[in-house]
């Protein structure tokens, strides 16, 4: 179970990403963060905290649950429906630059669902994508704007992101799947 990112490495990556967001958008005016549930939400909050302390302004932050937009819902072999959780976007996304935050970018299907879900809330000026780990194997034409770490993987492996807020520890591991 090799650890590819430890707590320090995750913290440094998120700080760097926060600065890249500031640079890329010439400040944070009109920028809002939306984390994809589950682990994108604490990541978005951490980036928002860094953005807030650097710029002195609070960045609106929301949480997006993409379950109802998944493309595999009705295709999976008989199995339980994934748990639906609440989407909380307490601000208008119209004409804002929305920075979508997720933990792992893999096939791109979650991001596709997140884009559809987000667009149902309004018409953002632009959508940018942050991921902590890009593990490759894209199945859709989707690319992240900000990446914590590129981790080459095989499809037989699974990338686990654990975060303090949910799992009690900060680490990214690559695990073999049978």
């Amino acid at each position: 179970m090799p650890v590819v990112m430890d707590a320090d490495r995750i913290a440094r990556a998120l700080t760097r990403i926060a600065h890249e967001i500031l640079e890329h958008n010439h400040g944070i005016a009109g920028v809002a963060l939306v984390g994809v549930r589950s682990r994108g939400v604490p990541l978005a909050r951490r980036i928002a905290a860094t953005l807030g302390s650097v710029s002195g302004e609070e960045v609106p932050t929301g949480a997006l649950d993409i379950t109802l937009y998944r493309d595999d819902l009705m295709r999976a072999a008989v199995g339980p429906q994934p748990l639906v959780r609440k989407t909380e976007i307490p601000f208008s996304i119209d004409n804002r630059t929305i920075v979508l935050v997720d933990d792992v970018l893999y096939t791109g299907r979650t991001t596709r669902a997140a884009l559809d879900a987000l667009i149902d809330f309004g018409r953002p000026k632009a959508i940018q994508l942050v991921v902590l780990v890009d593990r490759g194997h894209r199945e859709l034409p989707i690319k992240a704007d900000y990446v914590g770490k590129n981790v080459p993987t095989s499809r037989k492996e699974s990338v686990r992101v654990r975060l303090q807020e949910i799992d009690g520890v900060d680490e990214v591991t690559v695990e073999a799947v049978e």
């Binding site: 379950t67 109802l68 009705m74 639906v84």
Partner: protein, 319 residues
Amino acid sequence: MDAVAAAAALSQKNLLGIADLSPEEIVLILDTAEAMKEVGRRAIKKVPTLRGRTVVNLFFEPSTRTRTSFEIAEKRLSADTLNVAIGTSSVVKGETLVDTAMNIEAMSPSMIVLRHGSSGACHLLARICKAAIINAGDGMHEHPTQALLDAFTIRERKGRIGGLKVAIFGDLLHSRVLRSNLLLLTKLGAEVWVCGPATLIPPGLARLGVRVTTRVDEAVEGADVVMMLRIQLERMEGGYFPSLREYFTTFGMTEARLKRARPDVIIMHPGPINRGVEIASEVADGPFSVILDQVSNGVAVRMAVLYLLAGGAEDETVA
């Protein structure tokens, strides 16, 4: 929130009654409904979840609230919906329930929402249909989605269900809403009191784990939730009480009677309400009333049920 943790999934493909649900499954439906409620607050109140699924609303009894609520829930999940009302269907030509169902089934719907005057009609359909069956009220048996939306409303207002005193008043004999509510509320640990005229109390009611009384004051005393049932005027030919006026005088919920309840009591009613029969207008429209919240929450709860029952591939939804 209650101590009961949500189940990972529903164990059955149909929703025939609260009797079949575990406390954990009930909590799963209520938790899912919270997420669904958020969809109803958006500018675009629609998600693509049930695209390509067909849901038939088969209503053999008149209904405004339940049918509309199911239809809105289905549309918000992007299902294709189809309403069959008896007045315009082949039932008036003498077709039986089974024949009607088999013909609808032949058009491969994913789900059938059934309201029928006979208790157990849903169970009959569940045995012969591949489609998932959702009970929208069967005779005097159960009305599970009503009990679920009532529970959702209580939990939203009180933060929990376990340990609350819930007092239910009215026609305890014919009410399917009562039956489903008793099953649900006792499963989640509420202290349930029921009250009505002796002629409308079925024997053995106390065996369901509830306190039975004919004295309104005793039931209202310290109640967190007061739930009024409709006096079903169409079922009152049996001379259960002398007159509607007398019923109101003895059992009607008035502001004066409510003074014995807790100061933060909520008043519920599944509708349609008979003003001046089971409930005074000042109470129905008063500050404690959550009657219209129940109606809004009904859509979210039905979305949750539709979503949770839609799992698995289309071809494999056979039981």
